[in-house]
Each structure stands twice: as structure tokens, then as C-alpha cells.
Amino acid sequence: MTISNTTGMGGVEMTNVTKRFVTPTGAAMTAIRDVNLTVEPGQFCAIVGPTGCGKSTTLTLAAGLERPSAGTVEVSGKPVDGITKGASFVFQSDALLPWKPVEANVALGPMFRGMPRREALTQARNWLKVVGLSGFENHYPHQLSGGMRKRVSLAAALINEPTMLLMDEPFSALDVQTRAIMSNELLTLWEKSRPSVMFVTHDLEEAIALADKVVVITAGPGTVKAVFDVDLPRPRGAVQEIRFTPRFLELYQQIWESLKEEVESAYQRQVTTNLNRGAAA
């Protein structure tokens, strides 16, 4: 690929990033510590790790929704201050406005940026065609299935032509078959405009099938444990089928080896806290 420098559009550079939150009870909680993470422009980076390790926090930092407590976050070569320009976010729950029809939901991005309503709606309808939802422009989100709502979310995120796409377990609420279909769809769309992607997931298979690079985060407070390059050829084709290739299995074994310890230690910790809580109560 021609892209190699991290200062290009959409590249992410996190250096020694630590994020602490103050809980409502007044205690400080460290979500992530000393995270060093690089996503090159146009690169698809998956972030895996156990529950509660701060995966989502890295995304909110990259999006500019939160500031790091220490360290620096740079996107497209500029330190993040305020909402990051050129970023789009896809949430686990589809962040669609239930009181607006699908086309108005997709048109939000351009409208917020000052495009006239009529023009924005035309663009939205084009994007709905791209994600295969022609004919559903005037439906309300609750009238669509989970997979269709996800398509709308994708269209709403991509219509802004992002240079960086942040996805927080976007498909985890879908059933297995729909998830596979949506993964393929995502890859096809991504190949067209090639934004850099930070894709948080629980699912290691999903991560390997989609990404160029898989980052393993340790049990909370999270930090980068290991980075694996996924050298499966692109275009990948159907994610359901790539899972059976020998190279995929090899990578899976390698990464799982690294991830397993963290999952186990996170689970162990969960059990202990629950036990303590039970004892206290």
C-alpha cells in the first residue's frame, strides 16, 4: 500500500495514554493506562480484550468525546481537542433518532454541517441505496429489523465521508447470520473509501476476518498487550469462508493464546468482586 506515514488523514497515534474516571461515589477509576497505539491511514484495526478493559474508552478518546488524563492522542497528525474532524462513530446500540424517518436520520450528518435539507435528503437516499435499503426511506427505525437498523447506522456514519471510522462492538447485538452478512457489507463499503477503522469487538473471529491488525488489550485497567498483523489477502471475500483457511486458524491460535490469559484474569476478578459484594451485603 502507498500509505505508511501516520500523519496522513485518519491516522491515529496514541502515546502513553492514561484515562481515569471519577465514579459518582468519588473514587478514581483507571480505565486505560499507558496505551501506545498506532493506526495508519486506511488501516483496519481491530481491538479485542476482555469485558471492562477500556476498549470503548480508547474509541471515545479518538473521537474527542473525552480527553486523556495523561499522554497524547493525535488524529491525522493533530492533537485531539474537541470533537475529532472527519470521524464517524457506530455504536453497539444503533444511535438512530426514533422520531425521525430513516432518510432524515441518515441526512443528519450533512445537515449538521450546513447542507440544505433537500440536498442532504437526496444524498441520504443515495446512501440508503448503497446499503441496500431502497424503499425504506420513510420507515421509522422501530419498523426495521436489527440488521436493517445497523445498515442505516452505517449509512449515517459513512455519509459524512469519514477519514476515520470508530466502531464499538457494532454487530454484537445481531444474530450470527446477520452479523456475518453485515461484516461482508462493511468490508465492501470500507474498500470503496478506505477510511482508517478502529473496530472494538469481543469476537476474535470477527476481528481477524475483518482487520489488518489486531490489538490485544489486557484486563482492566487496559493497556496494549500485543499487536498482531493479519496478513490475509484482500479483498477477503466472505467472512464465513475465510475462517476455514489454514492461515486464519494459525493466526487465531496465536492471538487467542495471548487473549486467553486476559479473559481468564478478568473473569477471575469479576467473580471475586461479586463474592466480596455478596459478603458485604
Binding site: T60, A63, L65, I83, T84, A87, S88, F89, F91, S93, A95, L97, P98, W99, K100, L108, G109, F112, R113, Y140, H142, Q143, A156, N160
Partner: protein, 293 residues
């Protein structure tokens, strides 16, 4: 073989039709039964009341009688009251309620959204709002009559104050309970703070606000009537107060009936408005369940 399948299909379709027809018939009969029972209850109560007054078991001086109420209302509608036609009294009370409702809802929504959006203001003002809310606000009516006189403004203000608090708390709560993901998403998509309020926060709080409007409407009518009780030159509240002073039980009941009908009419309009504004919501089963009550 094929004919057997076709027959089976036919008979299955026939079965379904029979079941559907039977269900429809059952539903129709039940509706009829409910309606006739409702009429029966009204006839029974009113009949017993009328019979009681005729036989002397119920003292018509204190309790009036259904026929007496009808006569009294007829007299009012035909000959008017001591302070002008009866229609005028109804209109004045209605006008006070609606104006009070409009001002109360407007200010309640505005302040609710503002305080909900700006936590600093909310923290500063919350003790004062709680204090004022703890007051029995009806007594404010006396002050308003002193300030603004016996005319329309004092009643409008009282109605508006009663409405304000109901709407304010709902708007505030509605703004506070907006889905944070929706706000975050709008911000990332490039929305300014005002756009977030306009496109995300306000519509989301709207469900809460609309839920409060039914109660608020009732309060606006209460405010207008109580205001008229406390001092007025016109209105249904004054009609009731006058009837009370002349020991005219039929008059009190008659005016009450008119107010009740007004409130029901307003309530029906409000339901239509609500359906319009919340058309985007999925049809919930709870609405169907409460429809009968």
C-alpha cells in the same frame, strides 16, 4: 394426492375464516354488552336519585335532583345568568384555562429544557424551585387577585403557575434522561450545541412533556375556576360561588356538569394531539390494554 392436499388447504382456510368470524362476533357482542351496562348504571343512579327526591328519602334542598339540574341548566342557557349569558361564562372560563395552559406549558418547557441542559443553573435554582413547589399554590390565587384585580389576568396567572410546575418537572426529567449515545453520535456527526438540543434533546424530552400535558390541562381548568372562586366578575367559578351562596344545589351540580364536559372535550382534543405528535412511536400493547378503562 394433490386433491387431498388442496382439500386440506381449503378446509384449513375455511377453519381460519370460521374462527375469525366467531372472534369478531364475540368482540361485537362484548362491546354491546359493555355499552348497555354503562347506560344501565347511569339510568340506575340517576333514577334512584330522582326517585329519592320525589319520595322524600333524599332532601332536594341539599342534594338537588337530576330533573332540577336539567331545569336549572335550561334556565341558564335560555335566560342567562345575573352577569350575562351562560355561554359567555363558559367562554371566559375556557379562555382563562387555555391562556393559562399556553403560558404555563411554554414557560415550563423553556425553563425545564434550559435547566436540564445547564447543570449549573439547575444546581443553583433547584432549592428555590422545590420551596415554591412545596407551597400549596392555590393560595397564590389570593395574591394574584390582589395584584391583578378581578379580571382575566389573575386567573390566567394562577392557571399558568399550576401548569408550569407539572410541565417543568417533566421537561427537566425528560432532558436529563436523554440517551447519551444519541447526543454523542450527534456531536460526532457535527452538531452544534443548539442543534443537539433541537434535534436530539428536545424531541426526546417531548415524550415526557406530552405525558404531563394531560395532567396540566386539568390543572389549568382548576386554576381558572379557583381563581374565579376567589374573586371575579364572570366565569363558571363565579356561577358556582353564587349558587352556593343562595343554597342552590341544582346550580352547583349543573355548573359542575358543564365543567366536567369541558374537561372531557379538552382531554379528547389532547389525545388527538398526542397521537399526532407521537406518531413515530411503535404501537404499544399497554395503550390497547388501558383503552377500556
Amino acid at each position: 394426492m394433490t386433491t387431498a392436499t388442496a382439500e386440506a388447504l381449503n378446509s384449513a382456510a375455511g377453519d381460519e375464516q370460521v374462527i375469525a368470524t366467531a372472534a369478531r362476533e364475540r368482540l361485537r357482542r362484548r362491546k354491546l354488552l359493555v355499552l348497555s351496562s354503562q347506560i344501565g348504571v347511569a339510568v340506575l343512579v340517576l333514577g334512584a336519585w330522582q326517585l329519592g327526591t320525589l319520595t322524600g328519602a333524599v332532601d332536594p334542598f341539599f342534594f338537588g335532583s337530576p330533573l332540577g339540574i336539567v331545569q336549572r341548566l335550561g334556565d341558564w342557557f335560555v335566560n342567562g345568568t345575573a352577569y350575562g349569558s351562560f355561554w359567555e361564562q363558559i367562554w371566559i372560563t375556557l379562555e382563562e384555562s387555555l391562556l393559562g395552559f399556553a403560558f404555563g406549558v411554554g414557560s415550563g418547557v423553556l425553563l425545564g429544557v434550559l435547566l436540564g441542559e445547564v447543570p449549573f443553573l439547575a444546581d443553583v435554582f433547584s432549592p428555590y424551585i422545590k420551596i415554591v413547589n412545596a407551597l400549596p399554590r392555590i393560595v397564590l390565587g389570593s395574591i394574584f387577585v390582589m395584584w391583578l384585580g378581578l379580571g382575566l389576568p389573575s386567573k390566567v396567572l394562577l392557571a399558568a403557575v399550576l401548569v408550569f410546575f407539572v410541565v417543568f418537572f417533566n421537561a427537566f426529567q425528560g432532558v436529563r434522561s436523554v440517551d447519551r449515545n444519541l447526543v454523542a453520535n450527534a456531536r460526532i456527526l457535527g452538531a452544534s450545541r443548539l442543534q443537539v438540543v433541537q434535534h436530539v434533546v428536545f424531541p426526546s424530552a417531548m415524550t415526557w412533556i406530552i405525558a404531563s400535558l394531560h395532567v396540566a390541562l386539568g390543572f389549568s381548568i382548576i386554576g381558572a375556576i379557583v381563581g374565579e372562586f376567589l374573586g371575579a366578575q364572570n366565569g363558571l367559578g363565579l356561577v358556582i360561588a353564587t349558587a352556593q351562596n343562595t343554597f342552590d344545589a341544582n346550580g352547583v351540580f349543573g355548573a359542575m356538569l358543564v365543567i366536567g364536559l369541558l374537561a372531557l372535550g379538552a382531554e379528547a382534543l389532547m389525545s388527538i394531539l398526542e397521537r399526532r405528535l407521537l406518531a413515530w412511536r411503535p404501537k404499544s400493547t399497554s395503550e390497547n390494554n388501558t383503552a377500556g378503562i
